[in-house]
């Protein structure tokens, strides 16, 4: 008890170095555990972005690319697929439901997704959550648009506002605007904390209508433009979509369907199983994770070495103190214990502050990360790994404390009661 109070007072006496040492350990622990948290949180959040979809079908190309542009709204498709192909699989007896996606346009940096009621009915995330409307209704007319919650919040759109869609994917205003065919906001979606919030949803017909008078990816020439009022939903035939999500009636059907898509004769298609491709994505990111973990480990080591340096250099000034302690009857072992306690205090304090900092930071950064990356990192209790990290930091701190402690031990044996100045 005496030693605890001595260690505490001694650290408090060297306030600045103690605080700096504790701070550097805290920051290194924050980094170590923060990386762990973000890693797990991101993984869970990614995995939760899409549920119950067995296959994602698109034009043949990269599996990752297909996953990214359909689920995460990152990157774009190289090719579209024919609507007939989609219809074939939609009506396939082994298929429970499908959700078609027609992609490629944007509004102020947000993606525009052409889809059908199937999206609102069948899309699932976080296991079994459904896309709900916060207000308004599902787009049904050609020029209806529903907004993801982030889109509505960031652009401050309300029901009834007009939205002009940009051709292609650009941030801000694009070069080519579909300004002759404005859309009307009819619905705003409930927040999902997935990339769903960061898109605008129109009908497949709306997507087709915007491009009705276009040819070869170029806007209509003067006089060839078809005004919006002339277009009726019934007259539009959908020629192509970009991709579709699919749920099979059974597990076995999934694999059978995947094979059928991949060997589809009419056009080159590709089907991926989202979970499998997500796994591949994680393996790719895994290297970065490992690198990050190694870096944070080194940061922890540097933090602990900083403590070693500060305790060790203080020893020279503390030789007198040690002699006084010896004179009042403290054995050399007590002196060892005193110094080990000091490093124990610092590393434990650092670990605790570090963990608190992790939670403070996750609390602060959660909405920011969600807004910018569509990742909802849950604030979760410490994982077993994190506990082990904390424990390892404290144990390493105590062990490191033995270095100056043994030095002090030898000093005090050699010095006895002489005051080396």
């Amino acid at each position: 008890m005496v030693l605890l109070s001595l260690a505490y007072h001694s650290l408090r006496d060297r306030k600045l170095t103690s605080a700096l040492t504790l701070g550097s350990i805290a920051l290194s622990v924050t980094l170590l555990i923060g990386v762990e948290h973000v890693r797990l949180g991101a993984r869970e959040s990614f995995a939760n972005t899409i549920s119950q979809t067995d296959l994602i079908v698109g034009a043949r190309g990269g599996a990752l690319q297909l996953l990214l542009y359909t689920v995460f709204r990152v990157g774009s498709a190289t090719n579209n697929i024919a609507y007939e192909s989609y219809e074939y699989f939609r009506n396939h007896p082994a298929v429970a439901w499908t959700i078609p996606y027609s992609l490629g346009d944007s509004h102020r940096g947000f993606r525009v997704v052409g889809t059908t009621e199937d999206f609102y009915k069948n899309y699932r995330y976080r296991r079994d959550r459904q896309v709900e409307l916060a207000e308004g209704r599902i787009p049904s007319d050609i020029f209806d648009v529903a907004l993801g919650s982030d889109v509505a919040a960031e652009l401050k759109y309300r029901l009834g506002d007009h939205v002009i869609i940009t051709h292609g994917i650009t941030h801000g205003r694009g070069l080519l605007e579909h300004d002759d065919k404005p859309f009307t906001v009819v619905g705003i979606l409930e927040r999902t904390a997935t990339p769903v919030d960061r898109s605008l949803y129109i009908t497949l017909e709306g997507m087709e209508a915007m491009h009705l008078d276009w040819s070869e990816g170029a806007p209509p020439l003067l006089g060839e433009a078809i005004p919006a009022w002339k277009i009726a939903k019934e007259e539009i035939t959908i020629k192509q979509i970009t991709a579709f999500l699919l749920r099979a009636r059974s597990r076995i059907d999934t694999l059978r369907l995947q094979r059928e898509v991949n060997t589809f004769e009419d056009e080159p298609l590709m089907a991926i199983i989202p979970g499998v491709t997500l796994g591949e994505l994680w393996r790719t990111i895994g290297y970065a994770e490992d690198a990050l973990r190694v870096v944070s480990l080194f940061v922890v080591i540097i933090g602990l070495l900083g403590m070693l340096v500060s305790l060790y250099t203080a020893l020279t000034e503390r030789r007198r103190e040690m002699a006084v302690l010896r004179a009042v009857g403290a054995g050399p072992l007590r002196i060892v214990l005193l110094l080990v306690l000091e490093s124990g205090f610092l590393s434990m304090g650092g670990a605790i502050v570090g963990v608190l900092l992790v939670y403070a930071l996750s609390f602060i950064s959660q909405p920011i990360v969600e807004r910018h990356f569509g990742l909802f990192i849950p604030i979760q209790p410490l994982t077993v790994t994190a506990y082990l990290y904390v424990l390892a930091v404290i144990v390493a701190g105590l062990l490191i404390g033995f270095v100056p402690a043994l030095r002090a031990y030898r000093n005090s044996l050699a010095d006895g009661l002489t005051m080396r100045l």
Partner: protein, 236 residues
């Protein structure tokens, strides 16, 4: 701890054919015999480097005689383990350094009470008195009661030495070892400090072994011992 002879029978200090050298160096102390009775006030003098501090180290049990026996209060320190000697020192010996007696991160009261906090024996000798009361009593005696809750870094050297004396006296140890505690004080302070130390030591019934090279202080003591005379190692 090894059972000692009945306390009042054994002298405070009894050295018998003691030799001491630091590891790998020649002898610095060879003392055939030195006996100091209880309650004696001894002035131990000698030039610097004659081994005064080393002798105090032996008496305090921080150092261990290479040969011979060092008996303090009847306990043969040479036969005790390092840990037992630490406990013995904490229980029976008050020590005052020349300078820098205090632990800078503790306040005056905490410094005074350090031996009582580290060891049970001085605590039990306080009887029913609380630690705070004991600190206040000894501080009052030495005229530093108003300073009890000050930081020691704010004190003058004279005040610091009184705090050191208070720490050496608290719990009334049988032996007080003082290593030139007055050498950094001016004449007036020196006189006052010594008077207080003697008074308090007498009240406590302590044996005082006072090391100095300042022979003007010699007449104040019961007996003077010249280390050069009793030490058979000749300084090179």
């Amino acid at each position: 701890m090894a059972p000692a002879e009945p306390a009042e029978l054994s002298p405070a200090v009894e050295l018998d054919h003691v030799r001491f050298r630091y590891e790998g160096r020649p002898d610095i102390l060879q003392i055939p015999s030195l006996v100091i009775a209880r309650h004696e006030r001894i002035f131990l003098y000698g030039p610097s480097g004659s081994g005064k501090t080393t002798l105090l180290g032996l008496l305090a049990g921080v150092l261990r005689a290479t040969e011979g026996s060092v008996r303090v209060l009847g306990h043969n320190l040479t036969a005790l383990s390092a840990r037992q000697r630490d406990v013995f020192r904490g229980a029976h010996i008050g020590y005052i350094f020349q300078l820098f007696n205090l632990i800078t991160y503790l306040n005056v009261e905490e410094n005074i009470l350090l031996p009582c906090r580290l060891h049970r024996e001085p605590r039990t000798r306080l009887g029913g008195q609380s630690l705070q009361a004991a600190a206040l009593a000894v501080a009052t005696r030495l005229g530093i009661a108003p300073l009890l809750h000050q930081r020691v870094t704010n004190l003058s050297v004279g005040e610091q030495q009184r705090v050191a004396a208070a720490r050496a006296l608290v719990g009334t140890p049988e032996v007080i070892l003082a290593d030139e505690p007055t050498s950094s004080l001016d004449y007036d302070h020196r006189q006052r400090f010594l008077e207080l130390l003697f008074e308090c030591g007498e009240e406590a019934g302590s044996t005082l072994i006072f090391v100095s090279h300042d022979r003007t202080l010699m007449p104040l003591f019961h007996r003077a011992v010249s280390l050069q005379e009793i030490n058979h190692v000749r300084a090179a």
